[in-house]
Amino acid sequence: MTTLDATLDHPRGGSAAALLRHATALARRSLIKTARTPEALLDVTLQPVIFLLLFTYLFGGAISGGDRAGYLQFLLPGMLAQSLAMGGIALGQNLNADIEKGVFDRFRSLPVARSAPLVGAVAADIVRYLTVCVVMLGFGMLIGFRVQTGFVPALAAVGLSVAFGLCFCWISVWVGMLVRTPGAVQGLMFLLVFPLSFGSNVFVQTSTLPGWLQWFVHVNPITPLVSTIRGLLIGGPVASHLVVTLAWMAGLLLVFVPLALRGYARRA
């Protein structure tokens, strides 16, 4: 009985390996769900394409004084960042729905780390952020966008984008733990993501803005991300923007991962 109890109480390979294994199994669950409901990918496929078309052809001429092709070069790296921030909203909504349906009660009654269901769901979101990058770059090139640096910097831009998406989405996870309905998650996250993505250097040069708005753009985490991606895709300074971006990413994780875990533990 003692030996049986010992194997029963100690997961194979220790707790870190167990967390990795459980999170992988749970990430797989999320991916199966995504594959079964491809319409859940509209917000990372059709929606960014529509935004790109809208801003390039409807507003682009007016904003850039007629130079649509030049504006597309400026706009696309920024829109990539905006789409990543928006792409994380669905995660909080899905987790909120799962909890309401009682699916997470089963996970909670199993001997897995408290963080495993959240870590698994976040990990599965890699696929969505990669999709955003592929769709934006692919469709962008179709309508005339050109990478002016090279393959490796472009690849680095994609890597940074996905990594930023994985950090930023913890805000959405946290909100998903706090509020009652998936609709409320979406409402609150839009309230956050809209000012962040529009009050930035995504659509216009910061120098054209009034002073108080310039201040907001400078303290906005989307701004250094956009500058970094722009540098990696169309050339320009990268290192200084990258440092600020990485600092923001670390900050997001340090603040929102513990908040999300605490919210999850409290949600009874």
Binding site: H22, A25, I32, K33, R36, R106, S109, L110, V112, A268
Partner: protein, 323 residues
């Protein structure tokens, strides 16, 4: 010493203004079925959630399989299975995927998890639907899949929160069969229910809770003795035979009682009811009715309803105590 597989003392839990648990003591012997009986909102689900490590009580202690639920929840989780009130299967996953996922989270190797999933699906008559998404399942099939999910890890203690609510009578009896089978295989089962009939059919012991408090803990027979036990109801085809029926049924009345015209709320007049001690009353009453040439349109043994159980258990308790 008796081997108590669940032992809880003084559990208290408050949600806002509601005192969901107001000092609940519970014990369950190993290898038995304990039914927690009570109306909606009595605190049954809260009690199960505390014992299954989902909810921390405000006060009190609980041990499941000898392990402190509050101090070592992970060790408890390896030994329990939980089926909640609402079938919590993942609708977008197939039956197999649902069970394999649980197996993986219980640290089974994937091949073992697959084998166990196939075994359980077969056993719960879901083998044909194994590859279909759970959202295509009927209510009964979801319940079975949900129950199967709680058995993946061969749990020592199984918690079932209202496992048959919303199921039709045939499905309900299937579920009872599953519970009995688990007990023969050595598990202990704690189930909550709103039906005295279900508790009577399954449980070795019954705990009655109301407003967050245990108001009785007894064997089904003991409880029935306290609340009046079975009632035999007979409706003669001709209302004019009621006096004859009254006379015949007096012969099977439980000691100290007699038959009377049935005045249960909402009942049509013309029926007779009598408290009886067991179903042997039928062996006497049915031939006697036939000999007297009385045709009957309805003849049945009834357990007291949950309302009647509460009525008799709380009778004589000062009104203040019941608030």
């Amino acid at each position: 010493m008796t081997d108590l597989v669940v032992r809880a003392e003084g559990l208290r839990k408050r949600f806002g203004k509601t005192q969901a648990l107001d000092g609940v003591d519970l014990t369950m012997r190993r290898g038995t079925v304990l039914a927690v009986l009570g109306p909606n909102g009595a605190g049954k689900t809260t009690a199960v959630r505390v014992l299954a490590t989902l909810l921390r009580p405000d006060a009190g202690s609980a041990f499941v399989a000898g392990i402190d639920v509050l101090k070592e929840p992970q060790r408890v989780r390896r030994r329990i299975g939980l089926t909640g009130q609402y079938a919590s299967v993942d609708e977008d996953l197939t039956g197999t995927q649902n069970l394999v996922l649980i197996g993986q989270l219980l640290d089974l190797r994937t091949s073992d998890a697959r084998r166990r999933a196939a075994e359980l699906l077969e056993w719960f008559d879901l083998a044909e639907a194994a590859g279909r998404m759970a959202k295509t399942y009927s209510g009964g099939m979801r319940r079975r899949l949900d129950l199967a999910a709680s058995l993946v890890g061969h749990p020592e203690v199984i918690f079932l929160d209202e496992p048959t609510t919303g199921l039709d009578p045939a499905k309900r009896e299937d579920m009872w069969g599953v519970v009995r089978n688990q007990v023969t295989q050595g598990a202990s089962v704690l189930l909550t229910t709103q039906y005295l009939e279900e508790a009577d059919a399954l449980a070795d012991e019954i705990v009655v809770i109301d407003k967050g408090r245990v108001i009785a803990h007894d064997s089904p027979d003991g409880l029935k003795r306290r609340v009046g036990g079975l009632t035999l109801r007979v409706r003669p085809a001709e209302e004019s035979r009621v006096p004859d029926v009254l006379r015949i049924l007096d012969a099977v009345a439980a000691p100290g009682t007699s038959s009377s015209p049935d005045t249960a709320a909402g009942a049509r007049p013309g029926a007779v009811s009598v408290p009886v001690t067991g179903d042997t009353a039928l062996d006497i009453a049915v031939p006697a009715l036939r000999r007297a040439g009385i045709e009957v349109t309805d003849l049945a043994l009834h357990l007291p309803s949950l309302d009647e159980v509460f009525h008799s258990l709380t009778e004589g308790v000062p009104a203040k105590e019941l608030v």
